[in-house]
Subunit: 357 residues, 2 copies
Amino acid sequence: MTIRPIIPVILSGGSGSRLWPLSRHARPKQLLPLLGDNTMVQDTVLRLRGPRFLDPIFICNAAHGKIIAQQMKDIAQAVSAIIIEPMGRNTASCGVVASLQALQQQKDALVLLLPADHHIADEAAFEKAIIQAAIAADDGHIVTFGIEPTRAETGYGYIERGEALNSSAYKVKSFREKPNGKTAKTYVETGQFYWNAGIFLFSPHVMMAEMKRHAPDVLTHSQAAFDDLQKDGVFYNLDKICFGECPSISIDYAVMEKTQHAATVPADIGWSDIGSYDALHKARQNADRMSLTGDIILQDCENLFVQSDGPLVCAVGVKNLAITVSDGKVLVTELEASQNVKNITDRLKQDGRVDDL
Amino acid sequence: MTIRPIIPVILSGGSGSRLWPLSRHARPKQLLPLLGDNTMVQDTVLRLRGPRFLDPIFICNAAHGKIIAQQMKDIAQAVSAIIIEPMGRNTASCGVVASLQALQQQKDALVLLLPADHHIADEAAFEKAIIQAAIAADDGHIVTFGIEPTRAETGYGYIERGEALNSSAYKVKSFREKPNGKTAKTYVETGQFYWNAGIFLFSPHVMMAEMKRHAPDVLTHSQAAFDDLQKDGVFYNLDKICFGECPSISIDYAVMEKTQHAATVPADIGWSDIGSYDALHKARQNADRMSLTGDIILQDCENLFVQSDGPLVCAVGVKNLAITVSDGKVLVTELEASQNVKNITDRLKQDGRVDDL
């Protein structure tokens, strides 16, 4: 069967504060070469090259837009548009803006809406899942990719699958908030639950219709902001006043949890959101459980992530730590506690230390 | 009874490599304000002010001599002499040089030979021990201060006490090398053993006679180096050729283990050689077991030493660590393993990274 062309719409709104001080407000996680030579947004784009895909659209803020334009140039990647949000309004508005832009570019295209800062180790499996999702999307479903859970993670939302649509896609029975540990364990044991990775594939017509039904406010204001946008080369600046009036709400809350058309394609693709130093270490580590970047001397150490942008870093008799030296800031965190690095950036914010963020 | 005047002779030859990167070749531990506002050598001198004491003599290398002169000026401390060693020759030669200089200054003085980098919490008890030692020294003994052991430490030599000379001093029965853990435990349990802190009190006549008997080579070459010294204000430069021929041997090996005149005065004086980050942390920590100096943000941490000379240091979910940021170098060490920081400086030496030492 024929697969409709797919437009990647890449959301680059995250601040990656759990990876501070590597990830900074001015250059967050997705704009850094955390795994290999390419930045995460470059890798995200490079995974979606080929005859099936149209040139990508980006949605981000103005400062990051300029960096993305340069990073795309650096990998000789043509860009459809870099849509600039005057302020963050979560992901529901992105669903509208992505759909409108896609419809302008190519009427029959599907939209692949995905974050700029996820790692996918098995690219062949990802492409296969995209094709499966495209079939379901062509049938009028809004497809969310369901990541096969490898542990009872409490940091993600879960998708409960319902009846099978075909051999590779299911109706969504329910979306579940981030569970506690016990509930997460039950989810994993049943085999009916997937991690919600925030990757969606849909026809823009369907998305617009479901927005109209379930989130008319989001639709109205996002569309107004899009209709009044100012073009500046590849940069499309959404209208500030209209966009400011748009509710700040996720696409999950606004549409996915309400629509009758939600489907999921299970995807065993080596996915990670690299959401903490622990996750980055797991994606990077060598056979000795070490991830070492920079001028480093170790004595009697085990299972360490160490990264320095210059200063000599020495460690003695320690294990299960991430040690990061970046731009004159030093972080030492227990790997398992590394989700809580966010508390540090929250403190910096409270204390008005914007230059350190 | 009358106590003979005492000349402090302060040995400032250590490199403090276990406290790297705080302690550096150019400015080692004894020249740093590790505890309070004064440097360790300043505190060492300030403990020995008063009518009993003559102005101190220092023995050190040329670069450190200049810093010591300045640090003494900063606390308005007069100095007898700063004797400059052209190269390190361990402590036996210091015993000779100290004795010769003391004899030139005041014939009837006793010499208090002590390291520049020890911490003594109970200064009143220290002064009392000095008086007790002076009485034994006046009787012709070379007195070594025996620190009451508070744990089965394997990092120090031990002194075994023999028969009592009076109510406060004992003959030394034996000196013991650094023991293993089991032996150290036995030592502590018997109550007959003390830590050898390398603090000595003696009459220079006795020291010279015992050097002549037990270490004539040390005596000959040290005396020749002293006889040919070049004075430059307060700096007394030992002759390089003569001093270079002197055997490099400790005063313990050369004299104390052989002489019949060794005595010990037990001293419960809150002594620490601040020989590791663990020891520094114990001397510094607040009631919450934290020693924090600099721009620091902590989240869910316990029992930490953190010191930064500028960069913001953040820690999350860690405990029992020392984290030091100094002069563009970063060290993270388990407190209990902090003796092994020396392996790091050994590695730097091997790799020819002299600027980092």
